[in-house]
């Protein structure tokens, strides 16, 4: 990982690029820095904190935020007194670990790489665009990015929301949407896709802070098209956040507050005052987009985002160069994370021949046997962490106190227990004092446990014979002004840890081999892409398709909004699948049963019909679920009853046919037919763009056709906004309707009548168009059955529920199962392809490794104690405990490779038959007992 680095040049060709990088000096030795923060405290110079959007001050020597990676401070040369004026250097003697190095020089490096991934993120909207909203003129007009920092508990104001003008808490607030996007005035015609959702989030957070504050969101269309995002809007409305459909013309200072001028749909001009105005600014292309394009040769689109195609959404115009994230177009976190995984899969395909080369395996000495009968010999090491701990906690006292505890044969203090030389000391002391348990009182096990465990392994000790006490992050840092109490707390925590350590036993390291093959359920664009992506990386898969042929919904699509010919791309995919030696396709097939766990699944597939019907068993290491979805056909609006009413998909088919009157003279389109609070509670994301796509087609065939679109929110997110604008320029009329006043379709002799309330003219309108086209939603396929077969969780709307919406968007909670396509949630073709590539990237991880490593802190069932009640099996969220027949009795057994060590089984087992490695009942109870076992003289100190 090279941070603080600039990309200078790229030469060579795919598989053999040379990238020139400039490493800017950090002036801090990253290996020595312990991120204690003392340098920042002593640095005398202030500078504006860019991370906090300029709302706070920091020092030239700083870290951007607590969780920054790497957790290393750096010096900003533009404001450092020493680097600018050759003075100061106060930080040098302050740093206890001697990490500051002003001699560092910029360094140019040439990196030999096979592929390049561009992920520079997004840029900021020019503040000039914000001026008409009084941004920069009045302090109480802020951007949403600034407001995000204002509301953050860890931000500069600890989450307290105040007006900058006079420090009062705002009573009334406004969010203005579409600032710098959907605005051709600033040449940003596109929709930034994320602002509606973040405005709702920030409004909800504000309400959590202060339920009394009055919040209004001024919007054109609320674009919460993401999975389950509409629920957030409904939640916001339920707690009283107001949504006003209006374009705000301007904001002007007015007495102590701000005046918003806006016009509503019914033609009224209004103004209203608010205390605080938040501008929901859009996402701009990165400011150095042109430079990146020039250096790499990749093409940009008209808005300076990276140009890509629908069917190759991550492939730039230059082979071997891949794009991910907002540079490809504005997008939110789940989609960016998904794209990054997809990009990794594409890069892995380019680099496949290099895989595994240059790997050096580390060897360890033989492990010393430690049995429960051995004498317990605990070594306690108490860390000063420079002065981070010792400036508050009396480290010597804590160490000495530990020395008096039962089982402790050695105790010491160390200045930095994580330093390289301290590891050597640790190894040496383990040997010298024959230690068989190690307790380190220092920082957090979340960051440092792996380091110390590695040292234990180097010393020939099982890595689980280790316990860590957090006396820095959770003691000295949070009780900085109470040294006596902090020392007392440290003593208690060390006593509890030693009590636990006395009962720790070595745990066996377990690895499980992986069958290098994937089972892919569903042969639509998602399944096909996943199979091809895995094949490109060299991994075989079995593609199971329920229908007679692969292709899925692509078979019903003809063209895309971007103008792609779908059939041609579908043929390309099918041909590649057929030619691939790695992919076996089974059609007319379904999954009957799956047994096993990550790396070792075995499934029974039934295929064929009638006499050719057969069952086959497939062994595989991973499962990609891509069972897709289909059009929801609501029993409404005369669909299926009148030939003049059809869905967008049917209309698309008609438009690509040759019928003379395929693009009739008058058309009414009804959006959200059966969706968003109707048959389906959710938004299906694709329908607005599907309507726009068909509108443009109609206009190309019959420019005189009159089209009216009745909609709730036109969700032409991203670059599709251009098509929305084009349609309006062509005279297509878009009329919004309210959910409680839906349009009605009725049959009147040979005509179909549509009646609706025209919110612009404020009157009821009845029309008799030639055709009514319904934009219907998408429902998932196979989720109900598979959720039972594979124990996969689903959402309230019956789509598969990913392991984590943002962090693990294509993984399921069950290890070794990945999801993509419509079965995960409604989405267009390009997003489906990226998701399938991402699922393939994740699925390839166990296949590449060849084995699955199991953290030994998992559950273990004592089958002598087990009464076979099955409570654990029903409660396990990961499907990691199964019931087995052992000597004709039902017994629980942990599937080690699937267990995530949560311990729910252990805490519920009525016979205490389940123990958790490293967290046994015995260990935890001894820790609780030690909590109470305070020496009498200490009670008063607290």
């Amino acid at each position: 990982m090279l941070t603080n680095a600039d990309f200078l040049a790229l030469a060579g060709e795919p598989g053999k690029f040379q990238a020139k990088i400039n490493m800017r000096p950090r002036y801090i030795d990253a290996d020595a820095c312990t991120a204690c923060g003392l340098c920042t405290q002593y640095c005398p110079k202030h500078q504006v904190d860019d991370y906090n959007e300029g709302l706070a001050l920091t020092r030239p020597i700083h870290i951007d935020y607590a969780q920054a990676v790497p957790a290393t401070y750096y010096i900003d040369p533009a404001s450092c007194l020493h680097l600018q004026h050759d003075t100061c250097q106060i930080c040098v003697p302050v740093c206890q670990s001697h990490a500051i190095n002003f001699k560092q020089q910029p360094e140019e490096r040439i990196l030999e790489v096979g592929a390049v991934i561009l992920s520079p993120g997004f840029g900021k909207i020019d503040t000039k665009v914000l001026e008409k909203f009084s941004y920069g003129k009045h302090p109480d007009v802020v951007t949403a990015f600034e407001y995000e920092r204002m509301t953050t508990a860890s931000g500069p104001f600890m989450g307290e929301i105040k007006c900058f003008s006079d420090g009062r808490h705002p009573r009334s607030m406004a969010f203005i949407q579409c600032v710098g996007s959907r605005d051709i005035g600033c040449n940003n015609g596109y929709c930034s896709s994320v602002c509606c959702m973040y405005a709702i989030k920030e409004a909800l957070v504000t309400k959590e802070h202060d339920p009394e504050v009055d919040i209004t969101i001024y919007y054109m269309d609320i674009r919460t098209q993401g999975k389950d995002f509409d629920a957030a809007r409904e939640r916001a409305e339920a707690i009283g956040i107001k949504f006003v459909r209006a374009r705000v013309a301007g904001v002007t200072p007015w007495d102590k507050s701000l005046k918003l001028t806006y016009s509503t749909f019914d033609g009224q001009h209004k103004f209203v005052s608010h205390d605080l105005v938040v501008l929901s600014v859009g996402l701009e292309s990165p400011k150095d987009a042109a430079k990146i394009s020039q250096l790499t040769g990749v093409a940009l689109n008209k808005y300076d985002f990276c140009a890509t195609e629908t069917f190759q959404p991550l492939q730039t115009s230059r082979e071997g160069i891949i794009v991910a994230g907002a540079f490809q177009g504005p997008k939110d976190i789940p989609e960016s994370v998904t794209q990054s995984s997809g990009a990794a899969a594409l890069a892995a395909a380019v680099l496949r021949d290099q895989r595994g080369k240059g790997v050096v395996l580390k060897t360890y000495p033989d492990e010393q046997q430690v049995t429960p009968d051995d004498e317990v010999r605990v070594g306690v090491f108490v860390c000063h962490c420079g002065i981070n701990i010792s400036s508050v906690v009396d480290v010597a006292d804590v160490a000495k106190y530990a020395g008096g505890m039962e089982g402790v044969t050695y105790y010491t203090e160390s200045l930095y227990s994580c330093s390289q030389d301290a590891q050597e000391v640790l190894k040496q002391k383990i040997k010298e004092h024959k230690l068989n348990r190690v307790v380190i009182a220092a920082c957090s096990p979340r960051t440092h446990e792996p380091l110390f465990q590695e040292t234990l392994k180097d010393a020939g000790l099982n890595r689980n014979l280790f316990e860590m006490v957090n006396i820095r992050d959770q003691c000295s840092w949070v009780h900085a002004n109470e040294p006596a109490a902090a020392t007392d707390k440290s003593r208690d925590l060390v006593r509890m840890a030693v009590a636990k350590a006395r009962h720790i036993q070595p745990l066996a390291e377990q690895t499980v081999p992986v069958t290098p093959r994937a089972l892919i359920l569903g042969g639509g664009v998602a399944g096909m892409t996943a199979a091809l992506t895995l094949a490109d990386q060299g991994y075989p898969s079995v593609l199971v398709e329920q229908g007679a042929q692969i292709g899925g919904n692509l078979q019903n699509l003809n063209y895309t909004l971007a103008g792609d010919q779908v059939a041609q791309h579908l043929k390309g995919l099918v041909d590649r699948i057929k030619k691939s030696k790695e992919i076996e396709v089974i059609t007319n097939a379904e999954l009957l049963q799956t047994a096993g766990f990550v790396g070792n699944f075995s499934s029974i597939i039934e295929s064929g019909k009638g006499k050719t019907k057969k069952e086959q068993t497939v062994d595989h290491g991973v499962i990609v679920v891509a069972t897709g979805g289909h059009e929801h056909r609501p029993d409404k609006y005369l669909l299926g009853q009148s030939k003049k009413v059809m869905t967008q998909m049917e209309f698309e088919k008609q438009l690509t046919g040759r019928a003379k009157n395929r693009a009739p003279g008058s058309i009414v389109m009804i959006q959200c037919a059966g969706s968003r609070g109707d048959d389906l509670s959710y938004c299906s994301k694709v329908c607005c763009n599907h309507a726009l796509k068909n509108i443009l087609k109609v206009k190309a065939i019959n420019p005189d056709s009159q089209i009216i679109v009745l909609y709730r929110d036109m969700r032409a997110y991203g670059m599709a906004e251009d098509a929305y604008l084009e349609a309006r320029k062509m005279g297509v009329v878009f009329i919004p309707y309210e959910v409680d006043r839906k349009p009605e379709v009725s049959q009147k002799s040979h005509q179909v009548q549509v009646s609706f309330f025209d919110s612009i003219m404020q009157e009821e309108v009845i029309m008799a168009p030639d055709l009514v086209v319904l934009s219907v939603g998408i429902v998932p396929d196979g989720t109900e059955k598979l959720s039972k077969l594979l124990k996969l969780p689903v959402t309230a709307n019956n789509f598969f529920l990913e392991a984590h919406v943002k962090l693990r968007p294509v993984e399921m909670a069950v290890s070794g199962v990945y999801v993509c396509g419509l079965a995960h949630g409604p989405k267009p073709v390009d997003e489906t392809i990226v998701q399938a590539q991402a699922a393939a990237a994740k699925a390839a991880i166990p296949l590449v490794k060849g084995f699955v490593t199991v953290d030994p802190i998992i559950s273990c069932v004592d089958q002598d104690q087990c009464i076979g009640c099955g409570l654990c099996t029903s409660l396990c969220p990961y499907g990691a405990i199964e019931m087995k027949k052992v000597d004709k009795k039902r017994k629980a057994e942990t599937i080690t490779a699937s267990c995530k060590a949560c311990g729910i089984c252990a805490s519920h087992c009525p016979t205490f038959a389940i123990s958790m490695g490293g967290f046994t009942n015995e260990q935890l109870i001894s820790q609780i007992e030690a909590f109470g076992d305070r020496p009498k003289d200490m009670v008063e100190v607290a």
């Binding site: 957090n470 109470e482 009942n921 007992e929 607290a942």
Partner: protein, 68 residues
Amino acid sequence: MSDKQFNPRILGFLCNWCCYAAADAAGISRFQYPPNLRTIRVMCTGRVDPSFVLRGFIEGADAIFTGG
């Protein structure tokens, strides 16, 4: 009632993935809070057997904190 301020001893069970991480983050941000809490890290609060809570009270805890 004595004049002495009530100074409770609190035993906490912290989930490794959320509350324990949050407690670390509180430290990194140098948030100050009263030193009355003694914590036990578990891999998930699902691990907390009700008997642990009762045991804590027996051992003299004035309150049990579960964070997960």
